[in-house]
Symmetry: C2
Subunit: 466 residues, 2 copies
């Protein structure tokens, strides 16, 4: 099974290993170490006796034991010979990090790629790439950069772009997204989106699937697989290259033939969720990862300031959600301790200034206590709170109150944290993020983005219950 | 003229002045001090002899000199009496910070607001608010929070929401936006959006106008004024309360009657630019503030990574812009020093890794050197660069190269800075922001947002040249 050598290799050989820390043949080994990879690590390069403390082999053949997974950091013209060696050694998976193949559009380079694939088919060798970052799977220690979280999660992503795959790991750390597997698959000369998607559909570790796809070679096959997978778990897709210039860029990037028309069927005939960029992909994966499914589309908003409250209401309705008014008795109960000037105790609530302690606790309880409210969005204005006297104390108490409330509330909750105004606020925002990560509450940087992600989630839940 | 007392008061009295730093009657005085307000500052409160080192007067009447501008921090029920005192003292402008008037929907409170307006009309007193933050004008030292930049600029904004007005100052600091005047006008019981817009249209210090409007009382008058102003300078508007729930929130916030239908005429019959939230307002104001008008809609993109390049191309085309291919000879000239693997030297460019020094300089020159390219978007991946060995040095050189190129290039340029992955990257991003602020290059946190703002700018420029 290609899955085993891709995701659970017992040994990894790095061909083109080097002592130069600027090169991939060095960083790949460091990533494995950082990830505490428990299998064997074999640097391969005739120029070295040792790399980073590991015995370095002149060729693959010389490695004493079996090799499941080879990472190729050689120049493109050396790859066919390496593929041949892999076949002879009985390697299962060759990840070709190297670029400079069909994506260049140069006939000899296209030919070179075909040659590698031809050789692989003479054995049982499978190729990932060329022109890709490979596999990030924190639970076994596979990684392709030093920023990706070490913790494992339930989200898996396939990405034709290595930069996007890499970014995802980096950005995810700061957003509370945790991955099971991320696969950067580049030119998809052998292992492609359909095979990977099929695997993730069957993978018990994967609860949510994300994808950045530039082009699909076999659209009928892809559609068939996607239809099945997207009925069993959410599949969120960025289609890159939807415009003429975008398609040209995709062709230059991975040789992808990005046919726009054929994607209409994807959105019509499957349950896949369409998003338009990586930022939105993260937003939507996050809500699928972290939020319990709300029982309906009615949202209670706890805002600070009328502008925020209005924005929340507009954004939620535009996203297909609803912001119902609260019962008169609920409003009256809040009014008992909420000053009249500058506040609104109807949904969307405007608390005017950040409250904490028993008052905030009671407002959360009263709002969530209405049967008609299915989910909560709570806006925490980090920027503003820190600017006030006693800001830090207020901020800490406010987070504690929300956390305590969440522990006993059955209603799903999203936090909007506004913390981009200063370095101090950004740092406080990261702390807030960590705190809410731990209790599984997703955090968004704006009301608009929270509303948008929640809308996609609620629509998916509704359609999968039909 | 109400303008003088609003924007250039010779003296400001703070009624309800107090030693309690948590109260508006204290912070208002501190904001004036921080802003180095050069007029007279008169605290008024019979309970104090002195507040923050200023002599405190028991009543307005006791103040020896004339008073142009009064800030009211008293409870709502005391405001009619204060308005009467203002009329007697010959005050020109009463800013009613106090909330708890018509926005509550309570008949006696609506009546209270009308009473204040009635009294003001017995003299030449004008009312700003009630339920608002007042005026921020850095050049004279008027401010409503401690975060707003002290530097003056060319953008003026009117906002019915005090929270949004306040946020704008806070967020703007970190985005390079600089204001001439920001007016939070709340319930608009007297001075309203139309009068303020008319003034900003005639104001030579204001080059660009932004607005957050919840409701307009006199739509024909507003339309007439907006038609005139939006032909002479860009007017960018967030209409809050465009949905049913949003309109309910707007009514609770400032008593605004937000009729959705009537706004269709605003977008059809005037040159006003519509944006859907405060984040987008900042993005669009920034491009109008900082960018020279491009000669056309063709954009050259310098990206790092194929995923970025594709995203840029898609986003720009969706925004109504174009990403034309480069000439064969331009591509050949770049290829001389750009390695083949992992890069694309056609527009949108994919440099694979961040480059700096002469190579980046030459790439910028060659791209901008094509007549068909009217503007540049340069993506600087702060997150990724800092993660590399020698990251800080590379990052500094890269910024220098772009700055040097910009100094001699006639083509407008936008920077996309991706720096949200860690505290270190955010800090570096703020430095980058400051550097490019100084040379008037707008910086965006994502390609999508840069493309969107540039699209609105180019469309406005094209339509105003027709």
């Amino acid at each position: 099974m290609v899955e085993d050598s891709l995701f659970t290799p017992r040994s990894v050989a790095i061909v083109g290993a080097t002592s130069n820390p600027q090169k991939r043949g060095n960083s790949t080994i460091r990533f494995l170490e950082r990830g505490a990879f428990r299998g064997a690590i074999y640097p391969v390069n005739p120029k070295y006796q040792e790399v980073l403390g590991y015995k370095c082999y002149p060729t693959l053949k010389e490695i004493p034991g079996p090799v499941d997974h080879v990472v190729c950091c050689l120049p493109a013209h050396s790859v066919p010979a390496l593929a041949k060696e892999c076949v002879e050694k009985g390697v299962k998976l060759l990840h070709v990090y190297t670029a400079g193949f069909s994506e260049t559009g140069i006939p000899e380079r296209i030919e070179l790629e075909q040659q590698v694939i031809g050789i692989s088919r003479q054995g049982k060798l499978r190729i990932l790439g060329p022109n890709c970052m490979g596999v990030y799977r924190p639970s076994v220690g596979l990684a392709f950069n030093i920023h990706s979280p070490k913790e494992t999660g339930s989200v898996s992503v396939i990405s034709q772009s290595g930069g996007n795959a890499s970014d995802l790991g980096r950005m995810a750390s700061a957003r509370g997204l945790r991955f099971n597997k991320v696969i950067s698959y580049g030119n998809a000369a052998d292992i492609n989106e359909t095979e990977l998607l099929d695997f993730l559909g069957r993978d018990s570790g994967t609860k949510v699937v994300g994808a950045f796809i530039e082009g699909v070679r076999d659209m009928p096959g892809f559609l068939k697989t996607l239809s099945v997978v997207s009925r069993s778990k959410p599949v969120v897709i960025v289609k890159g290259g939807t415009t003429e210039a975008g398609a040209r860029a995709a062709a230059a990037h991975t040789g992808a033939v990005a046919s726009r028309e054929s994607w209409d069927a994807v959105w019509k005939e499957t349950e896949a969720v369409s998003v338009s960029n990586m930022e939105e992909l993260i937003d939507v994966l996050l809500v699928f990862q972290s939020l319990r499914a709300p029982a309906g589309r009615n949202v209670g908003v706890i805002g600070i300031g009328g502008g925020d409250a209005i924005q929340a209401a507009d954004d939620l309705e535009v996203a297909g959600l609803s912001v119902p008014g609260l019962k008169q008795e609920t409003q009256a109960a809040m009014r008992e301790f909420t000053p009249l000037p500058g506040t609104s105790v109807n949904n969307p609530l405007d608390l005017n200034v950040m409250r904490q302690g028993p008052e905030l606790q009671r407002i959360l309880e009263l709002t969530a206590g209405e049967d008609a409210i299915h989910a909560l969005i709570v806006v925490l204005r980090v920027d503003q709170t820190l600017g006030n006297p006693k800001g830090e104390k207020t901020f800490a108490e406010m987070m504690d109150t929300v956390e305590q409330f969440h522990a006993t509330s059955p209603k799903p909750m999203i936090i909007v944290s506004r913390a981009l105004g200063s370095l101090e606020a950004f740092a406080a925002g990261l702390k807030l993020q960590e705190k809410f990560d731990r209790i599984g509450v997703p955090v968004y940087p704006s009301i608009t983005r929270a509303a948008h992600a929640l809308g996609k989630f609620v629509r998916f839940v509704a359609s999968s219950q039909m």
